[in-house]
Point group: C2
Chain length 208, copies 2
DNA sequence: TTAGATAATGAACCTTTATTCATTTATATT
DNA sequence: AATATAAATGAATAAAGGTTCATTATCTAA
């Protein structure tokens, strides 16, 4: 038994423990309940009932209520960021990269409305308890920084942009659009907002 | 005694009751405590202690804990929107109006950080309990709509703008910038972001 | 098949905290 | 000053709900 097999075994254990069917069931149920009632109003009993298990069972898979939210966001963040990285790679230049990123962002959130709601409203609370997800948007903002800097090198974006402001500007606007969509109960197609939105980023209200 | 004096008296009473020193003290204390701990973790005792009154006293001025948050947001919203309307009026054209609006927005939030924090994180909760503040951002969005439409008439803004998207885009971006400022513990000057931000709205990342 | 280990249960426990209200203090009136 | 009215107090109450753990069910391996 060498180090490698040890690592494998370790992964196996954590796989069995972390990705068991029940674990996922609980996590999804929690997502639904948190999204519906908000973290504080949601109760352990509600989540347990939704998952079809006893209250005590949650504590076999999670440390406490906070931990459930933390794991939920952790997990979703990983999935989404993986997708975003792939999306950005598809672009051949800064403009394309930005377009793919925004499309991906809206697609992922449209496909997982519970996540969208929770990200929108509970992330600030998490910041208090777990700084491991130190900046949930850090990675996103870094992605944006890279794109903008590339755009400046390519000459497709202005040289005088204050990158720190621009990336916040971009993220804020997407979040705003998502937030509206959530409030409207997801009644329209969110992804179709991507291109007009990127268009706004690039050419602004004035146009050329 | 005519109708007018009756109204005056009515106002006087409500002034005495609603704007008493103690009422304001409690409201401000609540703002500080809510901002620091978040609505749910904040306790009545903390707020009372901060205001230098007994726990029970809060219930002479407010219906319950929810009501304190509701009144806080209600009050701040009124003040800020009044300022915003004044600011917008100062602009002679759409572009100026937008500029004054954003400057005002950032100024007000910079001057009242507790409000900024609470608006950023607790507004969603309020939506659940009190739909009287139906759309806390509704008025703001309407202001923006008017500005954009005026800009289109003046010819300073593109005709093909989807106003519903644009206003969300603008509000989202300001909120994003404020949110970052809050996270940074207000260590830099928020208001100085106004002009670069409006610049981005108008001419975008590409520039002319 | 059966013993031993593991997983699941859910009622009881216990802490927390919003709210109440009998009592006390302050204010206004005659 | 005496009385009436209003304001404030803070200890007691009660409800909620997160967490525990003794008990039961399920699974595993020999």
């Amino acid at each position: 038994m060498n180090l490698y097999s040890f690592i494998l075994r370790k992964d196996d254990i954590s796989l069995q423990k972390n990705k068991s069917e029940k674990y996922n069931k609980i996590l999804n149920s929690a997502g639904a309940v948190f999204a519906k009632f908000g973290f504080y109003k949601a109760t352990i009993s509600q989540i347990a009932a939704q998952a079809g298990v006893a209250d005590g069972t949650l504590y076999l898979y999670f440390k406490n209520k906070d931990d459930i939210l933390y794991q939920f966001i952790s997990f979703k963040t990983n999935v989404v960021f993986k997708e975003m990285h792939i999306a950005v790679k598809k672009g051949r230049n800064a403009e394309e990269k930005l377009r793919y990123l925004i499309r991906c962002h809206l697609t992922e959130f449209q496909n997982d409305r519970n996540m969208a709601i929770i990200f929108q409203s509970e992330v600030r609370y998490l910041r208090d308890i777990e700084s491991q997800i130190k900046d949930i948007s850090k990675m996103y903002l870094d992605l944006l920084s890279d794109i903008i800097e590339q755009g400046q090198i390519e000459g497709s974006m202005r040289q005088d942009l204050f990158v720190g402001l621009v990336k916040r500007f971009i993220l804020g606007a997407v979040e705003g659009v998502i937030s509206t969509w959530v409030s409207a109960d997801g009644r329209y197609d969110l992804v179709s907002m991507a291109d007009p939105l990127v268009d706004l980023y690039l050419t602004g209200l004035k146009g050329q």
